[in-house]
């Protein structure tokens, strides 16, 4: 019993992180049909931000890093994605792929290929034990931040005029413009939100891994893609369900796989996702499509 609870706790920690990765990607896709490969590089920028400001106190460093990521997200949209706005989803995707590669190599040029270690408070590396169940500091951090961010996002989407505009734009972008919603404002706002998500995820990943490096955005972005794809591209709740299942699946494979195969855990998880897609090609929660 304790063992099962232990696994559930671990799964909840992973699922929270994955949700923080998948939601911004799903959000941006919903608004402008862009699957943003470079979302991973926003996380990377956040991590380097933490590295640069780590000398100051951590809360301030975290805040400054967050600001930098949001600015980077806005700049990315303005410089690379606005010129190709309205192109096919494939073109948008390949553009973001180029941006991702560009930023990765720029980071390599600036910071080198060796990871930059970032000091984080020992608080997060401690483990709490309740009734035989070990809860890592990072798990608590992930779950806490995910609850705050996702809860905040839901309230923002439901209660504010901007959130309402975003929901309208996600359903029918042209009609949203026809009632006067400014396309640039909605898209910039969405990118800013995705930047916040990336910044928060960067914080968790740095606490977890202890360092920042140029290619660190890759794994998170793959996870975000797989989760959103499994949930159904463009579906907000689908992304959450996908993230939860992916977290649970990862823990399950970790437990069930023999030791020598454990290092290929991701391969098994993604393979399982492909099998899920074999049964449900549109994902678990097919998105509501815009009427023409």
């Amino acid at each position: 019993m304790t063992e099962i609870i232990q696994h559930l706790v671990d799964a909840a920690g992973l699922a929270s992180l994955y949700a923080l990765l998948a939601l911004p990607v799903a959000l941006v896709y919903g608004i402008m049909n862009l699957v943003n490969f470079a979302h991973g590089e926003l996380i990377m920028i956040g991590a380097y931000g933490l590295f640069i400001f780590a000398a100051i106190t951590l809360p301030l460093a975290a805040f400054l890093a967050l600001v930098i990521v949001v600015l980077a997200a806005l700049a990315m949209e303005r410089a690379a994605f606005r010129p190709v706005r309205g192109s096919s989803p494939e073109t948008l995707l390949v553009t973001s792929f180029a941006v991702s590669f560009l930023l990765q190599n720029a980071a390599l040029m600036i910071f080198g290929s060796r990871p930059k270690s970032v000091e984080t408070p020992s608080l997060f590396s401690q483990t709490v034990t309740i009734g035989g169940v070990h809860i890592e500091g990072v798990t608590i951090l992930s779950v806490g931040l995910a609850v705050i961010c996702i809860g905040g996002l839901v309230i923002f989407m439901k209660r504010t005029a901007f959130g309402m505009a975003m929901r309208a734009a996600a359903e029918d972008f042209t009609m949203a413009r026809l009632v006067g919603i400014r396309a640039n404002a909605v898209i910039s706002g969405t990118f800013a939100i995705s930047g916040v998500g990336a910044g928060v995820a960067a914080f968790i990943l740095v606490v977890q891994g202890g360092s920042a490096f140029a290619t660190m955005g890759l794994t998170p972005v793959i996870i975000a893609f797989v989760a959103t794809m499994m949930g159904g591209l463009g579906s907000f709740s689908g992304a959450l369900i996908g993230a939860a299942l992916l977290g649970a699946g990862t823990v399950a494979f970790d437990v069930l796989l023999p030791t020598q195969l454990r290092s290929s855990r991701e391969a098994f998880v993604y393979g399982a996702v492909l099998v899920v897609l074999l049964i449900r090609p549109q994902g678990l929660v097919p998105a509501r499509r815009e009427r023409v």
Binding site: V35, F97, M109, A183
Partner: protein
Amino acid sequence: MQRLGTSLGKIQTPVLLTIVIAAISLLAPLGGLAMENRAIVMLINIALVVGLYSFAGLSGVLSFGHMSFMGIGAYTGALITIPLTAKSALLPELPSFIAHAEFSFPIAILIGGGVAAFVALVVSLPVARLPALAMSLALFAVLVIAYQVESNWNSVTRGRQALFGVPTGTTLGVALAVALLVIFFVYGYQESRFGLRLRASRENELAAAAIGVDVVRERRIALVLSGFVIGVAGVVYAQYLGVFTPNDFYLDVTFLTIAMLVIGGTRSLTGAVIGPILVAVLTYLLQRGETVTGPGLQQIGLALAMLAVLIFRPSGLSLGAELTISSLRSLVVRGRRRTPSAPASSAPAQLEVPDEN
């Protein structure tokens, strides 16, 4: 000249491309060994990009996963060509049917391509049924899976450690022959009934389905054929390197081949051939620049070039057109008159919603 075009008829595009590539291959050795090696790499890249084009270009579905077939071809080809004694020392735990297999290079090319095609077939079972964009992402997941398997299957691939002792049979001639065969093969597919149906689904998926095109089936066929071509290129590349790791078939080459295809133009075989040629030149120049700026310029320059093409010339430098005798003529005539080139996509962008100012 016009008559030449007519008599060559439908095969003039691959013939013209052959002339271009053969000319480069003949001239390259004059520049010394380094230049010859650049030419070999360029030819292998042409095979890879044309292979990628046979799926992504013809179907309109971008793939981030095709270099997994390159890795599969490379490992397969290497494992069945490394001399037996060396192999037993290098990989003592190899399953016996591979441990005792030793084939000649041409056979290894076919087997490598065949294994890659088979994996592509398995992959296509779930993947080909997905909506286009989800398929792009799923293929990316395939790339990650292949990379992880290669990196962790120590008894067969040596994991993250380099696999070495691979015979280096790839000469300039071999690379040229393979690149040309691939071009003719893919061109034949493109012009066949299958290729036509696939292209119809690219232009309008619903309309193609309405006239009876089984889009999933056509994409599946393309996936298997492209898997074969890229597997072949993988074998050839491995026999050029002699030593490689799973990283040689992962993100860098994925980016490189996609960049080449985008720069050349995803909508024509000509684009898939000129892309690698142009990038070879660009890379050469950027590498010279790196002596001043330090490493990284090459990748950054390539990414910027790709972004510039996507923003200013989305159909690539080939503009989606094929190289033909008449297109060459009009190019020459236009050059003489010094009129600005009128791209095929000059139709006003009517459907585009004007930007907010």
